[in-house]
Amino acid sequence: MTEAILFALFSVSAIVFAFNVVFRKNPVHCALFLVCVLLSLSGMFILLNAAFIAAIQILIYAGAIMVLFLFVVMLLNVKGETPLLTPGAAKGFGFFFALIAFAELLWTVLTRGGAEGTPEQAVVLPPGFGSPAEIGRILYTTWLFPFEVTSILLLIAVIGAVVLAKRKFL
């Protein structure tokens, strides 16, 4: 029961905040609402027995990446009134991507989520599920290849940033 109430709380707040991210005019307010979305999501992760992911979500996304977002928004001093895309194009793009995301979700729910998600077949969690040790173990065994690919991707981004920043001084 408590779980259901908390789930409702976090999911509804996540959706409300997400709408605010999209509809607010002021970019700093948008960024702040995005932080709120991330915090609600980390609440959902805790409900899913994934306290580690929840902490990482706050630490990395809400605490570090969003601060950098804000930093850039403040430095650029984007005016709320001047949108990046013309309204028509923005709406077109937005609608297009939203449609893709919706189709994707619908497909996932219809093909897989439906049967497994029913309460009668509730999954029994293996011991240590969601603990840092267990996540570390599967990250370095089962998912080693994707993990390494991701790290190379991040390394490329770092090198790219250094190259871009250096160009000014050459």
Partner: protein, 330 residues
Amino acid sequence: MDAAFLIASAVKVLIVFGFVLVGVPLIVWMERKVIGHMQDRIGPQRVGPFGLLQTIADGIKLFFKEDLIPAQADRAVFILAPALPVITAFLALSVIPFGDTVEVFGRQVRLQVTDVNVAVLWILATTSMGVYGIVLGGWASNSKYPLLGGLRSSAQMISYELAQGISLVSVILMTGTLSLASIVKQQQTMWFIVPQFFAFVIYILCGIAETNRAPFDLAEAETELVAGFHTEFSSMKFALYFLAEYANMMVVSGIAISVFFGGWQGPFLPPVVWFLIKLSLFLFFYVWLRATFPRLRYDQLMAFGWKVLLPASLLNLTVTAVVVALSGAR
């Protein structure tokens, strides 16, 4: 989740809350007195015995001051911003163990608000959220010096968070747990400052930078930025920033004690007293630093964080990892 558990938790929350609210005026008094003597003055002495009530008087004064919101400010964010660092400081304090389990009415009660099994990450997460209070405060004022102060501190805090996190990771590697209660328990024979001395030095330097205290108080450098991010804040909003700064000093000291100095453990005296002694020594250290060192220049600060502290913490982590792997402890 029975009623007794809820009552015990509520009492613990109230104790920690009250401790911070009573402790902060005492720390401020201690700071003014100690700095006074270090600068060959006597410090506050008029209000109450030894000037003890001086900070209470200041608090009352702040409470009755006019609460100004600049006309061009972003009202909602301006009101929200000062509360954020206080909230995050209290959230971080909730996982710091200040004593062993004690028996109250036949029940075992742990002297710690809650023992999250990812406590170290929780603390890093909450302190990283604390940046928002300063950044948003600077931005919402809609004034140039606060904005500069806010931008400075966001860059500074993100830079120093990295080295701080990594220095804690080397201790986690040794203990194999993220729970502060069990990290404290594992220091029964030896404090972790002995094997992890470098990690401690890196941690405490970053901790001082995280709390925006001298010599890393670039965000409020009064010689360059008027008062930095809190220039436009008056009355209780200013008082909240003030409270947050000192509460965050307690957080940083509390973590340092729990991770490197054996937490509440010590001979003869009861655990809570040991915790308080260690906390007072750390807070004294903070004040001592402020009285000793001049403020760093901004580029020196960033260079120090990225080119010295971060590589040093990574090196320390690598050495720790190799030693742990070779000793075959886990």
